[in-house]
């Protein structure tokens, strides 16, 4: 093939690929293939030494002409793309995006997820129990004897056939321990029910998360350390925590836990009723009577349990002052989360 024929062929090839280039990116590729540092034209220039010396000058000229022509064609094609792009700008891109429906998670189940994920990081497994419970699991196994005033702490719905709606998630403790040997390290989320008149401050159902840890050498100091860590992870590292003695039949000693108000940082505000503190959960060392019920060796094993009310924590966080709002399911409320 003569050099002329070669150049012609290259020109034809170039025209073809140029035509097929559909966007500037492909054009860039074409430019590289033909005019790049290692492109076809550069290749020809590097072979110029093989041409007889008398024609070198002429061939050089032809190659330069070829290079110029290809460059020119490329520029033209670039310009074409530019104008095509401009044409597109004539669409009114200020029109709003299509309205895609926004969905949302209920703040209660979100809070449960948030809390559970913290407890999972702390090595707790998740356990479950039924909402319709037996008196034995809900009360007796948890050291609430029949006709004990402690039962007044939890007004109960009874169901036909002798069952009841669990008043707390604590029966999951005994249910779980009954079929597992220690160590036991669980949290149990779920709905619980109280037969109390519905008002801004109380609803007939709410959500709790129960925690339980039984092993050798588990002390109240472990409980404090764990709860403090949980509170820091949930409320932030500056939160302050206060334990005070309380009473639950299934823990001994028992305590209530207050955290410094996250809104006013303990200075006193509407949310904390000017006390600077918010009551968030009850806890304690599992009462030996409970361990005995499920035949754990009380001399060998100790452990702690805690229970927190999800609604309270969500209401405090979101500034909701009427618990019924959480169960109304007004879509204008739900869509906020």
């Amino acid at each position: 093939m003569t050099i002329h024929e070669t150049i012609k062929e290259v020109q034809e090839q170039f025209k073809d690929v140029l035509k097929n280039a559909r966007d500037p990116l492909m054009l860039e590729e074409v430019k590289n293939t033909f005019l790049g540092r290692k492109g076809k034209i550069a290749g020809f220039f590097s072979m110029i030494g093989e041409v007889p010396p008398d024609t070198r000058k002429e061939v050089g000229k032809m190659l330069n002409e070829l290079k110029r022509s290809l460059n020119e064609q490329l520029e033209l094609r670039y310009a074409e793309f530019q104008s095509e792009k401009k044409q597109k700008e004539r669409v009114d891109y200020t029109l709003p995006g299509y309205v895609v429906h926004k969905g949302s998670r209920h703040p209660l189940t979100q809070a449960v997820d948030d809390m559970l994920s913290i407890f999972k990081r702390l090595g707790f497994d998740i356990a479950y129990g039924p909402e319709v419970e037996t008196d034995w699991f809900n009360f007796e196994s948890l050291n609430f004897p029949p006709n004990h005033p402690a039962r007044d702490m939890q007004d109960t719905f009874y169901t036909e056939g002798g069952g009841l709606l669990r008043t707390h998630t604590s029966p999951v403790q005994t249910r779980y321990m009954a079929i597992h040997e220690p160590p036991v390290r669980i949290v149990a989320p779920g709905r619980v029910y109280r037969n109390e008149a519905i008002s801004a401050r109380s609803y007939c159902l709410f959500h709790q998360i129960e925690g339980l840890y039984i092993d050798t050498d588990i002390s109240f100091a472990d409980l404090k350390g764990t709860i403090e860590l949980f509170c820091r992870m949930y409320y932030g590292k500056d939160v302050k925590i206060k334990f005070r003695t309380s009473y639950f039949p299934f823990t001994e000693p028992s305590a209530e836990i207050d955290v410094s108000c996250f809104l006013c940082k303990g200075k006193g505000c509407r949310v904390c009723k000017n006390t600077g503190w918010l009551e968030i959960m009850g806890c304690g060392m599992v009462d030996p009577n409970v361990l005995k019920v499920i035949n754990y060796d009380t001399e060998k094993y100790t452990g702690y349990a805690f229970g927190l009310g999800v609604e309270r924590m969500v209401m405090m966080r979101l500034g909701i002052n009427d618990i019924r709002i959480l169960f109304e399911n007004d879509v204008e409320f739900l869509r906020q989360f």
């Binding site: 895609v100 969905g103 419970e133 002798g162 220690p182 109240f220 005070r244 009473y247 039949p249 739900l334």
Partner: protein, 796 residues
């Protein structure tokens, strides 16, 4: 419970700020706040002097009074009270005074006579229940002065006593706590008892026929007392804790109760038939009228105090009318007894009466020292206040004295439970201030006798709590190195649910949380046809069963939203539904289900799309996506049992119905004037979770290109899309990998009016080679031939 600071100081020195004291008591387990209590009578109520009283010209029962209210300008007030007289000092609510949130005194005309205020009776000022006449005050009340100035206020602790601490329900108990916390001594008053009456056994008898309900009963008799108002000191004490002073005997009895925590009862001795007390259980259906004037029909669980003829009192709960001490009483019998807590609680629950006495008895009072102290204290106090002479001796029936508890506390156990070392000296000091008796001690432990006023202390762990709480539970250092026992199981259910929640939220739906308690007709209407489980003591008729499906509660939510004119209602919820089942112990089987409801446009209102509803096809698409993600193959089977549905399908997986999907008849919600159809879906998530097997291995991606074929078929309008789709899927050959129905064409002008055209796109692909046209042409021809022969399909 209210305790007065002033009163507490009789037993313990308090030398710290009250707020600090409240804080310390709270941390130790007596949650309390400092309060100031007193009568709060509105400012506009002033002392008035009745200058003149005239008959009302046109109303016999009304009088027209001219009253000096200290303004120099006497007010004319029309009064209906029978006891108003000229010369009296009376409380007058002046014009503009707000007596209750919805009652403000204004200038008014009563039967034609102008009245500028109101002379008040007890009940109108919230001072008592009396409305028989106006309050008449003594002459030392200064005219024009605010009536409220005559009431003193007192500082109190308002304590929320937990159910395990009956000992703390009195001033003694709180003082004892303060003593333990501050290490200051706790002092009790000594009693001077002069028994100068006849031998008590010669004038009164006690018989217990129900020892299991009443293990101990003591009685004293005092003769020749005189009922009178209480002296100022007692009246102050009683009023300082928010009680009403009644007379010297009743007040003294309340005083001793609030001092020692032991409830006492006084009977008019002369009203006791046979001068004999008999303690027995009631006969079923026996009738008795209590002090609150209620005639009660009793059950045999109810313990009674009787005389030889009739019941006198519901033991430990409330007295009766017949034996009540009244203004003419001269001889009394004092009861100080111990009743079994469970018996009192049962009775109090049955009769729905909760009194200061029942609250203490049901939690457990002290049958030993405190019981006797309270008896003697009251007897001495009554003689001091009302005169009379105490009969010699105390009747005391206590055949089986309660055994005291002796418990050891090992110091290493304290360490094991609390995680900290607490010194033996510290422990000993705490128990001594809490009035535990030290029995013995050695290097490793101590042994104490538990005072009988502490029924909550039964075991070593209870002693640990005493040590911990008095030491300030908040000061226990928290463990910095947490242990984490390795559990064998690892829950997958909760993450599964979180994924589902995020899936539906991602599909533009809002998560709802509905009440599980619904009305019976809602429960009966459940989509699964379960029998609802009844709640025996519902809050209301609206909540007397547990929900049997997810859809009905979502319909209520839809309704509530529609009534608020909300549009775009797309909801889902995950929760248990309850099926009544008599074969399980709780009579309930719980199914964890998902409910979905849409009444919404498919898209939000857009500038490019027409307003299409999110209809059944939308819901089917969501279902497809959802079950596809979980790798479930499913079938829909039409369910024709429900009239309210235009279409309802059972969702079938592994031959088992796991869900429902359907669209309600448009008119079903006529009253709500909904803009969009109501489509719903319910799935048994618990069941799906049990079957769910997350995909373990990937499928290699296709290496060879696909060939597409579109086919448009004209066929009978009645033929079902699903039939044709199944047919093509079954006979599409081994290379068919996807099939999409992309057009449905109905046009009576262009097609026969009994015909419709369906267009399908078929995708063919091989795993091993690039397909050529002839590889699929054959299949397409056969397929078309088949559809032509079986369904009369023709190419369009």
């Amino acid at each position: 419970m209210i305790v007065s600071i002033d009163w507490l100081k009789e037993y313990i020195d308090i030398d710290m700020p009250l707020e600090d004291l409240a804080e310390k008591l709270t941390v130790a387990g007596l949650e309390c706040v400092v309060k100031e209590i007193g009568k709060s009578i509105p400012k506009g109520v002033v002392i008035g002097h009745v200058l003149e009283k005239k008959r009302h010209p046109s109303a016999e029962k009304l009088s027209v009074c001219t009253i000096d209210i200290g303004t120099g300008n006497p007010a004319t007030i029309v009064c209906g009270a029978p006891n108003v007289e000229a010369g009296q000092r009376v409380p007058v609510a002046t014009v503009g005074t707000q007596l209750t949130p919805d009652f403000t005194i204004s200038k008014t005309k009563l039967r034609g006579v102008e009245s500028n205020g109101m002379i008040c009776a007890e009940d109108e000022l919230n001072l008592g229940d009396d409305h028989t006449g106006i309050i008449v005050l003594s002459d030392d009340h200064e005219i024009g002065k605010s009536y409220n100035d005559y009431f003193s206020s007192s500082l109190v602790l308002d304590i929320d006593v937990t159910a395990n601490r009956p000992d703390a329900m009195c001033h003694w108990g709180v003082a004892r706590e303060i003593s333990a916390i501050t290490e200051k001594p706790f002092k009790k008053a000594s009693i001077k008892l002069i028994e100068d009456g006849p031998e008590v056994d010669s004038i009164a008898k006690v018989q217990i026929d129900a020892l299991d309900g009443c293990p101990r009963y003591t009685a004293r008799v005092i003769q020749g007392i005189r009922i009178a108002p209480s002296p100022a000191w007692l009246k102050n004490r009683i009023e300082s804790i928010g009680l009403r002073s009644i007379n010297n005997v009743v007040d003294a009895s309340n005083y001793v109760l609030m001092e020692t925590g032991h409830p006492l009862h006084t009977f008019d001795f002369d009203k006791l038939k046979g001068h004999k007390i008999k303690v027995r259980f009631a006969q079923e259906g026996e009738k008795f009228e209590t002090l609150d004037h209620k005639e009660r029909e009793l059950s045999s669980d109810m313990l009674l105090i009787c005389d030889t003829k009739a019941p006198l009192a519901l033991a430990g709960i409330m007295g009766g009318i017949e034996s009540e001490v009244d203004d003419n009483t001269v001889n009394i019998l004092i009861e100080s007894a111990y009743f079994t807590p469970a018996v009192i609680r049962k009775g109090s629950k049955l009769e729905q009466i909760s009194t200061d006495a029942s609250k203490r008895f049901e939690r457990g009072t002290d049958p030993n020292e405190t019981l006797v102290y309270a008896q003697n204290r009251l007897a001495a106090l009554i003689v001091e206040l009302a005169g009379g002479s105490i009969a010699k001796g105390m009747i005391d029936i206590y055949p089986e004295p309660l055994e005291t508890k002796i418990i050891s506390l090992r110091y290493d156990y304290v360490k094991r439970v609390t995680g900290v070392d607490i010194s033996p000296e510290n422990c000993k000091s705490i128990f001594s201030h809490l009035e535990f008796t030290m029995i013995s001690e050695d290097e490793d432990s101590l042994t104490v006798e538990v005072p009988t006023f502490r029924p909550d202390i039964e075991r070593e762990i209870d002693l640990v709590e005493e040590v911990l709480r008095v030491n300030n539970i908040d000061k226990i250092p928290s463990m910095k190195k947490l242990t984490m026992s390795v559990a064998e199981e690892c829950d997958k259910f909760h993450p599964f649910l979180t994924d589902i929640r995020n899936f539906f939220a991602g599909h533009g739906m809002h998560e709802a949380v509905n009440n599980s308690l619904v009305s019976k007709n809602i429960g009966d209407a459940g989509i699964w046809g379960y029998t609802p489980l009844n709640v025996l003591n519902p809050l209301s008729k609206e909540m007397d069963v547990l929900r049997t499906d997810m859809i009905q509660p979502l319909l209520i939510t839809l309704r509530n939203n529609a009534l608020k004119k909300r549009t775009n209602i797309r909801l889902f919820e995950l929760a248990n539904v309850i099926e009544k089942n008599d074969h399980v112990d709780t009579h309930a089987v719980e199914h964890f289900n998902l409910g979905v409801l849409c009444c919404s446009p498919l898209w939000g209102l857009n500038w490019t799309e027409e307003d299409k509803p999110a209809d059944l096809f939308y819901m089917k698409g969501v279902l497809d996506h959802f079950l596809g993600n979980l790798n479930f193959n499913y079938k829909l089977k039409e369910n024709t049992n429900r009239d309210e549905f235009e279409i309802l399908y059972d969702i079938v997986i592994r031959k088992s119905i796991v869900g429902k999907i359907g669209k309600y008849v448009d008119g079903y919600f006529e009253k709500l004037q909904l803009q969009y159809p109501v489509v719903v879906m319910e799935l048994q998530i618990g069941k799906l979770f049990n079957w769910y097997n997350p995909k373990q291995q990937y499928i290699p991606t296709p290496q060879f290109p696909s060939i597409f074929r579109d086919i448009s078929l004209v066929m009978d309008k009645k033929s079902k899309a699903v039939t044709i789709l199944n047919e093509i899927n079954q006979h599409g050959g081994k290379y068919l990998v996807d099939l999409v129905l992309y057009d449905v064409y109905i046009d009576d002008t262009k097609l026969d009016k009994n015909k419709k055209a369906l267009s399908f796109r078929l995708e063919f692909r091989s795993k091993t080679k690039t397909l050529k046209d002839e590889d699929v042409d054959n299949v397409m021809n056969k397929l078309f031939e088949r559809l032509m022969n079986q369904y009369g399909a023709q190419l369009r």
